[in-house]
Symmetry: C2
Subunit: 325 residues, 2 copies
């Protein structure tokens, strides 16, 4: 009886693997550090070894597994199970890597792959904050800004399987150049690097403000991180609070356009910046409520993701075992 | 045998009705001028009278009609056949008018209603420029800027049936206030009124430019219209050409965000401004090609609508007779 599935969440610093039972509980989990998957060949070996390890520890075998899902940080051809481009992974660039076929051959288990944001969307939609939604936007805020779309009760992938890049909607007309080739993209203003840069800029402009944040920078290796900005905001630092408010307003303006276009019933927001909670959700909600069309916001909720770091394993396991519609 | 359908296209200046045969040819057409439908009651009487007139002229009866579709310029509850709000129609405001039920009762024929942009989208998708597309955005450029979405081979309406309002995606961050409540909306910069206002502004700023356009304004009642700007651009007027270029760039920036988000295979553009042809399509295409993500534009085409003023009748007839998925 195939009562388990395996979810594999490949990130830039580690791969998380989880054996998931029929009640969607992760009953065994493993991590593969980044130095073990510097190339596709290392990736295949490390994944095979770790899955066999899980099998042994949990006394299951390939016949017990309904499928393996893999979420990857980049451009994925989910139909053919091929990785097109993992921009942030050295050693993986510019190749069409047949991940699904290779792992399938090595383990004898059915494999499906997709990009990490679609995988997170599947998780939040089936067992997380977006459960039961017919029309749902999932947004991840972190180094990058990603999006997954559930439309008319189905994960929407688009014509070349690249839909959902809401981080690359222009926020400022002909604004800052973005890595994607566009200008003024949302990601360029609310990605981690942008938040840190904007904070440093304000600290320099206003030497008498941001005292708490300055103390925290001093005490933590003099390196400003989004986490420090969040901690400072929690302690009432005016600059840090302003940064999250502006970030929320920026996101809210883009969401207002998305709400007018896609009229979803829910927007689920996850990722690092979303951990700032109401510091960022309040300005997002206020901006959307003020600027999106009233008829489009009648049923709208904007809520935090609920699965946290496990969304990647859960979504991949659900997807691998056939859940994506 | 039900081999005909009827399409009704209600606009701000007239209602167009067409009897459409099985080969999608409009075999009889009528117009109702705006002074005959100043209120819902007048609308019902005028439509009933005109349909019966068509029946008589074309020797058909209710039994020959598979359905009537009606496209309306405003906010429509297509599921319940009720008009929520026709903003631009005096005498129709703030009421939930059961159009479908009333006409059905009077004529004994099945009725479906939707907003005019969804109706145009259905027409272009089934028999026009978007024929055969799985993922399609239709955009109308005129007094307002509207959008209809076909996603995964289905007209996408959203959670409160209001999806597709791409004219109300912010182009300029916290830009000009828009009637919709938002700021900086696309429509505020490329709607007819905006194009005329921008042209007048440039003419005032640069007294030595735009000589052709100035002549045309003088010769046509001194009232600047988008048509005059188009005619002047055709004759090489520098200001008029600049206006269409800027308009195309504005549209292109919003399209680049839409392409990154929805990854359609085609964007069909119709409405008055689209009649400017390459004057506006060239800058739209150049901007999208430059700024949207390359992988999202691999299969993308941006093309003019092909059904022109008949899209409303065709789309309504198709929709009324059951075509919408």
């Amino acid at each position: 009886m195939k009562s388990y599935s395996i979810g594999i969440d490949m990130g830039a610093t580690s791969i998380k693997l989880g054996l998931v039972d029929a009640s969607q509980t992760i009953v065994n989990r493993k991590n593969i550090p980044v130095d073990h998957y510097q190339s596709p060949e290392e990736f295949f070996s490390a994944v095979e070894r770790t899955v066999r390890n899980i099998f042994e520890e949990s006394a299951v075998c390939a016949e017990d597994i309904s499928g393996i899902g893999i979420g990857l940080p980049g451009c994925v051809d989910s139909v053919n199970g091929v990785v097109r481009d993992l921009t942030n992974m050295q050693g993986w660039r510019g190749e069409n890597i047949p991940i699904a076929a290779t792992i399938r051959e090595r383990l004898g288990i059915s494999i499906r792959i997709d990009n990490d944001v679609n995988i997170m969307t599947i998780a939040e939609w089936h067992i997380g904050a977006g459960k039961g939604c017919k029309n749902l936007i999932c947004c991840t805020l972190g180094t990058g800004v990603g999006g997954g779309l559930v439309l008319d009760g189905k994960l929407y992938r688009g014509s070349t399987l690249t839909a959902g890049e809401i981080g690359h909607i222009p926020l400022f007309y002909m604004g800052e150049p973005c890595n994607c080739g566009n200008r003024g993209c949302l990601e360029r203003y609310v990605g981690n690097a942008a938040i840190v840069a904007r904070t440093l800029c304000i600290l320099q402009e206003r030497p008498n403000e941001g005292l708490i944040i300055r103390q925290l920078i001093e005490s933590e290796d003099k390196q400003l991180t989004p986490k420090i900005i969040f901690d400072a905001a929690q302690k009432g630092d005016s600059v840090a609070c302003e940064i999250f408010r502006t970030t929320g307003e920026y996101i809210g303006v883009i969401f207002s356009g998305l709400v007018n276009t896609l009229n979803p019933e829910k927007i689920v927001v996850g990722g690092g910046v979303a951990n700032a909670g109401n510091l960022v959700f309040d300005p997002i909600r206020e901006t959307v409520s003020r600027y999106a069309m009233p008829v489009a916001t009648e049923k709208l909720q904007i809520v935090p993701a609920t699965l946290g770091d496990d969304a990647g394993i859960h979504g991949a396991a659900l997807y691998g075992s056939g859940h994506d519609v």
